[in-house]
């Protein structure tokens, strides 16, 4: 419950803090990216670190293996595809 409260608090406060101005590009996987990534950080991290597919695989793996992001394999592929297709370099 503590976690739920914190999450709610952060969603509300972050929305008020201007975070809602960050708009990702439309495309398959946008919702999965928003749900999974915005759990811990604002989405401006994504365009800031635009990179190729290998780079995005490395980043998403780091989020899962190091930062403890609870992303399952099905979502992981969707997320990497979206990032590589829309924020490639």
């Amino acid at each position: 419950m503590r976690m739920l409260f914190l999450l709610l608090a952060f969603f509300v406060s972050s929305a008020m803090a201007g975070e809602e101005s960050v708009q990702l590009k439309d495309g398959n996987g946008k919702e999965a990216v928003t749900v999974q990534c915005a759990m811990c950080h604002s989405l401006d991290y994504i365009p800031m670190n635009a990179t190729n597919r290998a780079g995005w695989e490395k980043t998403v793996n780091k989020m899962i293996n190091v930062m403890g992001a609870p992303i399952e394999d099905g979502d992981k592929k969707i997320i990497i595809d979206y990032l590589a297709n829309h924020y490639g370099r």
Binding site: M3, L4, L6, L7, L8, F10, F11, S14, A15, A17, G18, E19, E20, S21, V22, Q23, L24, K25, E31, T34, V35, Q36, A38, M39, C40, H41, S42, L43, D44, Y45, I46, P47, M48, N49, A50, T51, G55, T59, V66, M67, G68, A69, P70, Y87, R89
Partner: protein
């Protein structure tokens, strides 16, 4: 664990669906909407208690100081840069705050209130540059992952507090003590995210210039800069300057966590820097002290200057505590160099302003460069030394101005 994870995920998903991330996006003022491409012009945004700063990321908050604030010796608190790894940042009531000192190489744990620190130890003040290891990362080519800082992830301040070594004089530190680790009150949203804990070699922790600071430029620390107390490691990059400091542990073994053993590291033998022997691996070393560097603060690349008249070139120079011995200026793309005048010296850990007056002989393009050198004989390279995390960008700047 999985149940809790699923629960969180479902909660976020329904929050997005119900309160509507996309609705939020669509309902926001059109003028504020930015469809994020990879190339963005700077967004100025205001955190509570701060002036508008250059927003890098909203959450965790990462904001850099616009260079126009660098004209003064000390950076105003309300314009001082903000850098966090974690999004959960509690607002701390100074009366409730406690500093815990423990660890396996300390026989008697200690606890202090802010008042005790203020009243029971000598108060000292140091002018020191606080510089993010990744300052200017955006200048690396090819790009390096991480916050794409420009030149403003730094600030100079007068830090007031107590020496860590004076506090440690109250503790029985064991002969086995090797490192001292520092933890702040901020943490990740998920409990699975590794807490941001940094360690120092024992000798650095006991250095007279390592402080537990509670004031900055004569005022209490701003919330976003570590209220009510933060670590100051004068001369070392800011990754060690733990904000909202709550726990200090004296350790007999090297601190073993992601932030020490994977992040904030450099390839071995690529930089000349202070040693951190207990954290050296076969291939990498931790980043330690600040590299000698300079910044032109009053000219920008491509600037047009009307009329053939003296052009003031102003800027800053700094290093990790050896002190700046000279700044040389070139106005002909590095063919010849002349000394700049060094301004007031606020101490070896402070940045130092400099100035040079350049009178162009004719209209045309001039490439301005500044190169700082320290008392230890170090100076800036012409090309930044590549490293996987994009630290220590201290290449000589090249600024082309057009005199018409």
């Amino acid at each position: 664990m999985m149940n809790r994870r699923r629960f969180i995920k479902k909660t976020v998903a329904s929050l997005v669906a119900l309160s509507g991330w996309s609705v939020l996006q669509q309902s926001a003022l059109a003028a504020n909407l930015v469809t994020m491409d990879s190339q963005e012009s700077p967004i100025l945004d205001t955190l509570e208690g701060k002036k508008p700063l250059i927003k890098q990321t909203f959450r965790p908050p990462n904001y850099e100081t616009p260079v126009n604030y660098f004209d003064t010796a000390f950076t105003p608190n309300e314009a001082f840069f903000v850098r966090y790894h974690h999004a959960q940042i509690p607002k701390i009531n100074a009366n409730d705050w406690r500093l815990h000192i423990g660890g396996d190489a300390l026989s008697k744990p200690l606890e202090f209130t802010l008042e005790q620190l203020r009243n029971e130890f000598e108060i000292v003040e140091i002018a020191a540059l606080c510089l993010c290891a990744g300052n200017r990362r955006s200048l690396f080519q090819p790009p390096v992952a991480g916050i794409q800082w420009g030149s403003g992830a730094m600030g100079n301040a007068r830090w007031r507090g107590v020496r860590l070594r004076d506090v440690f004089a109250r503790a029985n530190i064991d002969k086995t003590a090797l490192e001292v680790s520092f933890d702040g009150a901020d943490s990740g949203i998920l409990r699975t995210t590794p807490d941001f804990i940094k360690s120092l070699p024992l000798a650095k922790a006991l250095d007279e210039n390592t402080l537990i600071a509670f004031e900055m430029n004569g005022e209490p620390l701003p919330h976003w800069n570590g209220f009510p107390a933060r670590l100051i490691v004068a001369g070392w990059v800011a990754t060690y300057w733990i904000k909202h400091l709550t726990t200090i542990n004296v350790l007999s073994k090297p601190a073993n966590n992601f932030w020490m053993q994977t992040a904030y590291r450099l390839p071995k033998d690529r930089f000349t820097a202070e040693q951190f022997d207990s954290q050296v691996s076969e291939t990498t070393v931790p980043i330690t002290d600040i590299a000698v560097n300079s910044l032109v603060t009053n000219l920008t690349d491509g600037q047009v200057i009307t009329g053939i008249k003296p052009v003031d070139i102003k800027g800053l120079a700094w290093d990790g505590g050896d002190g700046i011995v000279s700044v040389e200026i070139s106005t002909d793309a590095g063919n010849s160099w002349q000394p700049a005048a060094l301004m007031q010296n606020h101490g070896r850990f402070s940045w130092r302003h400099w100035r040079y007056s350049f009178t162009p002989k004719a209209a045309g393009e001039y490439t301005i460069m500044a190169r700082a050198s320290s008392h230890s004989g170090m100076s800036q390279p012409l090309v930044a030394v590549a490293n996987p995390s994009g630290y220590h960008h201290n290449a000589v700047q090249k600024i082309t101005i057009k005199v018409v």
